[in-house]
């Protein structure tokens, strides 16, 4: 047996301390060489995309491994979650590799079959395409000739075409194709946090101010602060231009339903919890959960959302996520949905009081997606 040297011991101590501090997943990712990491990532892309194709992803793979994706007829996170996320996740994976011919990379995303899209799916899609455009030096150019008019109008009002420097798109001729009015999406980062235009745009569409808006504003402030503190940890080498958040709103003139959707493309709430200041509180809260379920993302989301709001601990942190519930609570009706990783947490407020739901998702939300829905 070999003698355990002092040098080896100190290396092991440093490694385990880092593992405890950063979480095993981050440590191992960071500790690998750049070349090894890139190759591993590229192989993972091929595997993931092949899996998604087996599950029904409509993709055409060219001889040089460039992939054309054809979006499905419906993209909706409530009614067609798995189908929608297959495409969102495929775009994320494929846009990570833009050079190597050995691995799959995104060539185009075709919209001609798309007939219906929800506001949250539209924001996720927009954010992924924006990320892709950023990664290829803003070279994307949308071809809209064969788009469905309703879809075209929705994306036009969402400000989708402003994403692309090369876009030359005329406004829709008849802007009454759809009952759902989107507001132009807002893209921000840790320096640019101003989203006050959202309320102004919504007030114009709805015709009056949204009651209890200050509480939604407080929830959005916390979502953005969380992005700055946790979503893109400095231990991961994430490009500055990828550290964004996105926000939009939609109003259905028929049903008078208002939706506000926020998303980021970070590591997600479940992955960020072990390094956050509220981790001890979360562990306390999940102590009674059977061990096998403790690390489930849905369990972690629920614990983070329900960390005691009146806790008198010294750090006073962890009030941010519960803050997001106040808008729905004060309005007395509606829901808040938080999706991150494989977890879903949903708070519904109605005539019968509050109900909470958690669920495990088949396809992960790579980042965090928050939806507030209320009836005006």
């Amino acid at each position: 047996m070999k003698k355990y040297t002092e040098k080896q011991r100190s290396r092991d101590v440093r490694r385990t301390v880092l593992q405890r501090k950063l979480g095993y997943k981050f440590y191992t990712r960071d500790s690998r060489g750049k070349k090894h990491k890139k190759e591993h990532l590229d192989k993972t892309i091929n595997k993931r995309v092949d899996n998604l194709i087996e599950q029904g992803l409509e993709a055409n793979i060219n001889a040089d491994r460039r992939v054309d994706l054809t979006l499905p007829e419906t993209m909706n996170l409530s009614s067609h979650y798995d189908q929608t996320m297959r495409y969102i996740n495929a775009i994320r994976s494929l846009s990570q590799n833009s050079r190597s011919r050995r691995y799959y990379r995104l060539a185009s995303v075709k919209f001609h079959l798309l007939k219906e899209i929800s506001s949250s799916a539209a924001l996720l899609l927009t954010s992924e395409l924006s990320r892709w455009d950023d990664s290829i030096r803003n070279n994307l150019s949308p071809q809209t000739q064969n788009w469905d008019p309703v879809i075209f109008e929705k994306f036009y009002s969402l400000g989708f075409f402003n994403l692309f420097r090369k876009a030359q798109v005329n406004p829709p001729k008849d802007s009454k194709e759809s009952d759902v009015r989107f507001v132009k999406y807002i893209k921000g980062n840790h320096e640019d946090k101003d989203y006050r235009g959202l309320h102004i745009q919504l007030t114009k569409i709805i015709g009056e101010k949204v009651k209890k808006w200050p509480l939604l504003h407080g929830g959005l402030d916390e979502a953005i602060t969380n992005v700055c503190h946790h979503a893109y940890p400095s231990t991961l080498q994430i490009r500055e231009k990828d550290k964004n958040w996105y926000l939009t709103g939609a109003f259905n003139e028929n049903t008078k339903e208002l939706k506000i959707v926020f998303c980021d493309q970070g590591i997600g709430v479940p992955a960020s919890l072990p390094t956050s200041k509220i981790w001890e509180k979360v562990l306390e809260s999940i102590a009674s959960v059977p061990a096998i379920n403790r690390r489930k993302h849905a369990t972690l989301l629920k614990a983070a959302m329900e960390v005691s709001r009146t806790s008198t601990d010294q750090t006073d942190r962890g009030k941010g996520l519960p803050d997001m519930k106040e808008f729905i609570r004060q309005r007395g009706a509606g829901y808040l949905a938080l999706m991150s990783g494989y977890g879903l947490y949903k708070l519904t407020v109605g005539e019968n009081g509050e109900t909470h739901k958690t669920d495990t998702l088949n396809h992960p939300v790579e980042g965090t997606l928050i939806i507030w829905r209320v009836q005006l």
Partner: protein, 117 residues
Amino acid sequence: MQRINVGKDFSGHPIGRYREDGPESGEVFREDLLIPKLKELESNEQLEIVLDDEVEGYGSSFLVEAFAGVVKVGFMHSDDLLKKLTFSYRDEDFAFFETKIKQYISEASLGSAKESK
């Protein structure tokens, strides 16, 4: 009575906890505006905080750091700070933030920020 109009004297969009979060954060508000104003007060004088003028709302990170932070850095005891501050707003929704600020101040322990460092 002295006054701080958050929207006009500080920022129309106060957001974030620490100075590194940006110039509109709770720590900047506390250190550069609130504590200097509190120092200027006479013994029986109060400080009015106007919450809703040009401001759409507040996140708890900002409120905790800005107001409870005064107690946590050891500048003033929570009971004394609560006596010194009054809040005003036209929009009744901002009553929620007044309640929250008072709650955060009451829960803060004197000097706890120094101890945790």
